[in-house]
Symmetry: C2
Subunit: 389 residues, 2 copies
Amino acid sequence: MKTNKGFDNLQHNYLFAEVAKRTQLHIAKYGDDKICRLGIGDVVQPLSPTVVLALEQASRQMGEVDTFKGYGEYSGYDFAKASLVDYYGCKGIDLDKGDVFVTDGAKSTLGLILDLFDKPCTVAIPNPVYPVYVDTNILNGNNIFYIDGNIQNNFLPQPPKTKVDIVYLCNPNNPTGNVYTRTQLQAWVDYALSNNSIILYDSAYEAFVAPKDECYASSIFQINGAKLCCIEIGSLSKTASFSGLRGGWIVISTTIRHNLNLLFNKLISFKTNGVSYLSQVALSATLSTQGMVHNYKNIKQYLDNAKILKGILTEKNIYNCGGVMSPYIWLQVPHNKSGWEFFDRLLKWGIVGTPGEGFGENGKGFFRLSSFANIDDIYIASQILYSNL
Amino acid sequence: MKTNKGFDNLQHNYLFAEVAKRTQLHIAKYGDDKICRLGIGDVVQPLSPTVVLALEQASRQMGEVDTFKGYGEYSGYDFAKASLVDYYGCKGIDLDKGDVFVTDGAKSTLGLILDLFDKPCTVAIPNPVYPVYVDTNILNGNNIFYIDGNIQNNFLPQPPKTKVDIVYLCNPNNPTGNVYTRTQLQAWVDYALSNNSIILYDSAYEAFVAPKDECYASSIFQINGAKLCCIEIGSLSKTASFSGLRGGWIVISTTIRHNLNLLFNKLISFKTNGVSYLSQVALSATLSTQGMVHNYKNIKQYLDNAKILKGILTEKNIYNCGGVMSPYIWLQVPHNKSGWEFFDRLLKWGIVGTPGEGFGENGKGFFRLSSFANIDDIYIASQILYSNL
């Protein structure tokens, strides 16, 4: 027996594990009273009352013979798929229940979906970006073609001249917080259509863009031709505080090229047993009008937080982007220091952030601050940054 | 872009999907008033009051800032791992929290785990067996070496002469309901130790064996040397009616060969975001003394059901096995008919079962009945079988 050679090719410890480790060491030494956690992109607001009520009710249903739910459809319950179809309807996108699948979150779906494709394939991955795209592809033995993000292109790389099989886009972007315009996205869709590529579109932060914004898109399916070549991976972790509950979705149109909708249906029947009934009830509840009113209130708070942090960086003449339609602010580390040096410096002051190099070579010398924090922590962090930067 | 060639090599529709399809067609024609579902192995008893209470409480926790849980440890919360360590302690097995991982169920874990191994590898799979082992390995491009089960070896194949990388064992077996003795399992562990193989031990039905049975094992870790070469995949779907809730575990000892515990830790950090907090709370509640008393009551009911069905088959002189430490009874279809013919015949009478060919070539001419049904359905089914067979 031999183990997967991909493990030997992984370049680094998993970023957030390293962040957690250093933070734990700091806390063990100094206590955690004053730590402002602007590191890992995890929400701080709890589930909405609408969702809690739905979960309590569903829990009781699961305790009665007549309403108990065992295995469900691999692709999700009809009621949950109907909620997703409605959600896309509000964005002006016409989907059918056959186009949507309920998932237990974006990350596991991003891992699973690679099984659809022949290996090794060539995969375009922005640099910097959410490191999971790189790690899963290395593990799968695929060839990675990095597409460079930098200050010149506003960290929004354009389609390459080279032909690739798969393109990863994360929009709004993690870690830079920048957002492609609809025109820029159209260029990507056109690229995929002419090169027979598939775009894996990670829309975990879509709710930070208004559903019908005319300049920016809150779904790739607002772009012409996208249904033929795009797979959209959605998450409720940031939108509705589902990070600990697990719940998301994936859209693969039945009209997509290469029969990928059918193949994904097969794949989930071999490799999953569907998603928790409770998560599906919660998904449906949170996508209701009442649920979304609550969610948008939280999102507004996170955006207000971002504005405060961004204001300080700008005032200190530190290059930064993002933080307008995104909870993330991406900044250039002052004085040519490395991201991990800046991390350790901030940690000493009681602020946890994320070093840019964790997101790829082009992240070196940059740093991500997350606005997923309560307002008190944001004020404390702001004062510290204002006084020390 | 090319799709995974493995899809072309899949031999059949997914078994339970086909069963569901034919059943739906029947219901559309005749209504579902009198259908006795002894087909898919899904429980009918609801979650225990202990679990429901824990879920309601956890739901409310998730709605308050101070008790809200976002992303957790990839491997599971400490309290959930402690419950698993205790559960194994009751079987006389000494584990550490580092040896156990909370999962969202056995099937997705069985899919995920193949990423640990180099491809293509040679995989020994019993025939007949739960079809997911075969499908996921075909999709991964591995070489399958079938190990024959038949009436002569009581459908419990022994270690082959050939050297393989990975061995799948499902014990108690799905679909045959048969159970290896400890002596037979020792032969498998010895085989793995001498051939540098890894055993993937699916223990989804372990709770149907008494925790400290001296002749049979309720965990592979009751066998000498197993920690070095065995991975045990556990599920709460059958034990505690978690099929719709999703919750299970995997044990990979930190002392296992090839550093697989470390690699699995890496793998879940790339490909998952941990398991729902609610599922973990439920797991812990159901493994408590109170929870397990409830679970064993249900299991006893399913075993009583099996006894009734088995009695009729035996009286009618139909070869059958299983159904003693398993919810499944495996029977030889009378009059040399095929499993799907028998399926259609039973369906006409209002009974849904599962054709043996769905579990592999050696299942041809056999049939699986599941005792996961309420007692009224078992009585109706028994009368029908008694009168018509």
